[in-house]
């Protein structure tokens, strides 16, 4: 409850990174991290959806608790996320068609990104207030983008490496992610959280 905003931000960005420590949003993490060029816009789009979803979830949660409709929480969250993804899609199509085409199929897939629903669920579970929720979603999005960009850079380098055929593919990406996650464990204790 009484965590400071900077603590929340650093925790979600580094020590409790959504992808590498909490295993949220692994599907896009393994799927989109092949090239640096798509990883960054994807991260930013996801961050934006997270922000919108987090704000909506905060308002929705107040409404649902006021009417004692807690059992509807999950259903309403997922509907809100699906609609905000649709919104982002429409806005992007209108104002930045190039980026819209570049992201292609991955944009609608943000709906089934666990990280987005994760933000909404965790902020509810931890009783964050408005500013805390906002920071939490921003930090989570930044952490997701960071992990995605790091992973994409590693994998671009790896294409030049001589890897045995047996190890290539998902197994290699997973072991790489494990190493990355190991490095992020080194941040433990940073920011005075936990």
């Amino acid at each position: 409850m009484n965590e400071s905003l900077s603590q929340i931000f650093i925790a979600t960005l580094l020590t409790n990174n959504f992808v590498l420590a909490m295993f949220l949003g692994l599907c896009p993490f393994l799927g989109v991290s092949g090239r640096l060029g798509t990883a960054l816009p994807m991260g930013i789009a996801t961050t934006f959806v997270m922000l919108v979803a987090s704000l909506c979830a905060y308002g929705l949660n107040l409404l649902l608790s006021a009417f004692h409709l807690d059992f509807l929480r999950l259903i309403s969250y997922i509907v809100v996320i699906a609609s905000s993804v649709q919104l982002v899609e429409m806005v992007m199509k209108k104002y930045s068609p190039a980026l819209f085409r570049a992201l292609g199929i991955y944009l609608p897939l943000i709906t089934t990104n666990c990280a987005v629903l994760g933000v909404a669920l965790f902020q509810t579970a931890r009783d964050y207030d408005f500013a805390q929720s906002l920071t939490f979603s921003l930090g989570g999005g930044a952490g997701f983008t960071l992990a995605l960009v790091l992973m994409a850079s590693l994998r671009e380098r790896l294409q030049l490496a001589n890897v045995p055929t047996l190890v290539q593919g998902t197994a290699l990406s997973l072991i790489l992610a494990g190493l990355l996650s190991l490095t992020f464990m080194g941040f433990a204790g940073l920011g005075g959280g936990e």
């Binding site: 295993f23 949220l24 669920l121 197994a171 494990g178």
Partner: protein, 212 residues
């Protein structure tokens, strides 16, 4: 192994076995990674997560298959998500009622079953095109395959990271646990290791087939 055949519906043993082995969601398709890696710190957690997912998968596939001709094409994904979310809420409350300690161990990951790609994938790719019985059998195979995958990961991580299996100590008190295996990086390493083992087995059997 007995082959169960019901030719009138087109249900073969493969409808069931597809998910268990040939298209195993964890080891072959690598879907639904978030719960797979997050909850498999112990075998008990892994099995409970698998069973919860199995239940959601089977019931939502049944419902999707029953209403497959009523839902307009444009809103089908939204409909599926609402159906899945309903069943997940059900499971969430059931687990909370049955075992509070399990509920706390799994945490938000029960609710995150909603966004498990396996379920939406099955609903879209199979249940929306097939009659209820076939959809249920296929979903059951997928769910069991998922549970087996989770159990394999959970058991490995529990044995290596805590020296236990289902809470029973295996190696006596002098065992020095390999703690990193129950921490986040361990999840990636163990799954990577299993995938390596499978691709090794596959290349061996392909080589064997080529020699014959």
């Amino acid at each position: 192994m007995s082959l169960k055949k019901e030719p009138d519906e087109g249900i073969t043993f493969d409808t069931f076995m597809e998910g268990v082995w040939r298209q195993n969601p964890v080891f072959v398709m690598v879907l639904g990674m978030c719960p797979t890696l997050a909850v498999t710190v112990s075998a008990v957690n892994a099995v409970s997560m698998g069973v919860a997912t199995l239940f959601v998968l089977v019931s939502s596939c049944l419902l999707v298959s029953l209403i497959r001709n009523l839902v307009p094409k444009e809103v089908r994904i939204a409909t599926y998500i609402v159906i899945i979310a309903t069943f997940v809420t059900l499971v969430d409350y059931i687990i909370q009622a049955v075992s509070l300690s399990l509920y706390e161990a799994l945490g938000a990951f029960i609710q995150l079953i909603v966004v498990n790609c396996i379920i939406l994938g099955r609903a879209e790719a199979h249940a929306s095109k097939n009659p209820p019985l076939k959809a249920v059998i296929n979903a059951m195979g997928m769910g069991i395959g998922f549970t087996i995958g989770l159990l394999a990961l959970g058991a490995t991580r529990e044995i290596l990271g805590a020296g236990k299996l289902f809470g029973f100590s295996l190696f006596g008190e002098h065992f020095q646990p390999w703690v990193v295996m129950v921490l986040p990086p361990g999840g990636f390493f163990v799954l990577g290791g299993w995938l390596l083992l499978f691709s090794f087995m596959r290349s061996r059997s392909e080589k064997g087939a080529a020699h014959e």
